[in-house]
Amino acid sequence: MSLSNQKPALIISAGICGLLIGIALFAPWLAPYDPSAGNLLDRLMPPFWQEGGSSQYLLGTDVLGRDILSRLLYGTRISLAVSLISIAIAAVIGSTLGIIAGYLGGWVESIIMRLVDIAVSLPAILLALLFGVLFGPSFSNIIIIIGFLLWSQFARMARGETLKVKQSDYIDLARTAGCSSLDIMFRHVLPNVAASLIILATLQVGTVIIIEASLSFLGVGVPPPTAAWGSMIAEGRSYVISAWWIAMFPGVAIMFTVIAANVLGDELTDLINPALRNEIGI
């Protein structure tokens, strides 16, 4: 029995995620056109199967005559890069604080966990919009904003998991052997809570892609002319009636990517640590 027989969903979703990463990496070679340069003579061309469409632009063109397919392929880069980098930042900051809180306890824990509670009770979208306006829309700003929205969940989980391993014998042993707290936290606790944190990170990918798309849709994401799926949908909004394809395809791309990421996250949870399901909840 191989893994592929037992877990078709895991294999398929991992395959699709791999494919998407491949598209993001090789977008310049895959895309038939420059994503941000249009040909105004070919504006608002429908996809090839519709009347007036041509095989030159398989998924049609937008209002500036830019090739939708090329923009979709390049958009993969933004969605994946934003989610991977912002989750990585949130995971590092949140897990560090969570492990410190869980291991040291006392007033350090109180302060960190109060901060987490406060961060959770701020309305995220308003915060993101405010920051977006204050610092201006840019690739690095959207990563900082999203990272800021996510760190608290990593802190909560890292603390909870740390409390569980803190009682184990090997931690006691390490302490009697004279290891410093810092050593124990990052050499002995971290490797034992890492699996849960990685699962949480995987489960966040879908959410972050949707947050990024929403912010780009509202105009505080990665600024034009860079192709991002959310801003492509925003650009197609005024043409829903006359040129449905501008907004339709990026939405489908988001949907497929998020489904693949969510299924992969779920399957990994089941594979590595099914008990986490209840803790993560939604």
């Binding site: 509670d117 701020l122 204050l134 105009g219 909004r237 829903v240 988001i254 489904i259």
Partner: protein, 305 residues
């Protein structure tokens, strides 16, 4: 228990203060408010009069104190665009539309999500369960603003059944409320399913089965009652989703609520309105969360974090 509630209340107040500090500094950091409020042809004298009126010549800490004092009385100044309505008046005017949309979405989510979660759990592994799980997966993977546009394309443009946007009648409410609800329906279904599966394998359900109670009563009465508690815990998360939903869905459907007002004021850099709408929304959000805490403590008095 009382101690827990006081702690939560203190946290909420700190969160509100952070938010107020943020919107206050935002208005000071991104350009000169005097230049925004006056026309380009204003004289130097007009400028200094307004600077004094707004207290901009005072130290920042004092300015913040003045801002908070006025904010507590609901005074954020006048909108800088349109007919210069008081900012708070604008917010209060738009609030009912948002509350209507959000409660409609919440009712739809509960009416659809809870039964679907119960049915999926009761038929665990069967076709119905798989179908419902595929639906929740879709619901959590489709961006709501895009779904709203797809709805407009099919139901308004192609079929002509419902209006594309606007406000006023029941038919205006259907599309925005349904698209806003999709994500929460999926979340509630998933949550109900998981806790129902838990409940159905517990001792008291076994006892009820031994007693020979009909399966229908066991599922919909005994198991469901206990499965609703986790839903309460996640209410705060659902409120947050509703605020996010309000901003994007109100924008897509031109719904005259505070979500769109918040977005518009941030884009226009209409600072008085932005401050009023952001702080009002934060306050409502936090009050809602506090009420959830109260309900939670009331349901489960053991709570102590």
């Amino acid at each position: 228990m009382i101690g827990y509630l006081i702690k939560r209340l203190a946290e909420l107040i700190v969160a509100l203060l952070i938010m107020s500090l943020l919107v206050f500094s935002l208005a000071r950091l991104t350009g000169d408010p005097v230049a925004l409020l006056l026309s380009d042809y204003a004289t130097e004298e007009e400028r200094s009069v307004l600077t004094q009126q707004l207290g901009l010549d005072k130290p920042l800490t004092e300015q913040y104190a003045i801002f908070i004092k006025a904010a507590l009385q609901g005074d954020f100044g006048n909108s800088i665009s349109g007919n210069r309505q008081p900012a708070m008046e604008l917010v209060l005017e738009r609030l009912p539309a948002s509350l209507l949309l959000a409660s409609a979405a919440m009712i739809i989510s509960l009416l659809a999500g809870v039964p679907m979660g119960v049915i999926a759990a009761a038929r665990r592994g069967a076709k119905t369960d798989i179908l419902i799980r595929v639906f929740t997966l879709l619901g959590q993977s489709i961006p709501v603003f895009w779904l709203g546009m797809v709805f407009i394309y099919f139901f308004s443009v192609q079929l002509g059944w419902l209006p594309t946007s606007g406000y006023g009648s029941f038919s205006h409410l259907i599309l925005p409320a349904t698209s806003m609800a999709l994500f929460t329906i999926a979340a509630i279904t998933r949550l109900t399913r998981v806790s129902m599966i838990d409940a159905l394998s517990s001792e008291y359900i076994k006892l009820a089965r031994i007693k020979g109670l009909p399966e229908r009563v066991i599922i919909w009465k005994h198991a469901l009652r206990n499965s609703l508690i986790p839903l309460v815990t996640y209410m705060g998360t659902f409120f947050a989703m509703m605020i996010t939903g309000a901003v994007v869905i109100e924008t897509v459907f031109s719904w005259p609520g505070i979500g769109r007002l918040a977005y518009q004021s941030i884009l226009d850099r209409d600072f008085p309105v932005m401050q009023a709408v952001v702080l009002t929304t934060t306050l409502l959000f936090m009050l809602a969360n506090f009420v959830v805490d109260l309900i939670y403590v009331w349901i489960d008095p053991r709570i102590e974090r």
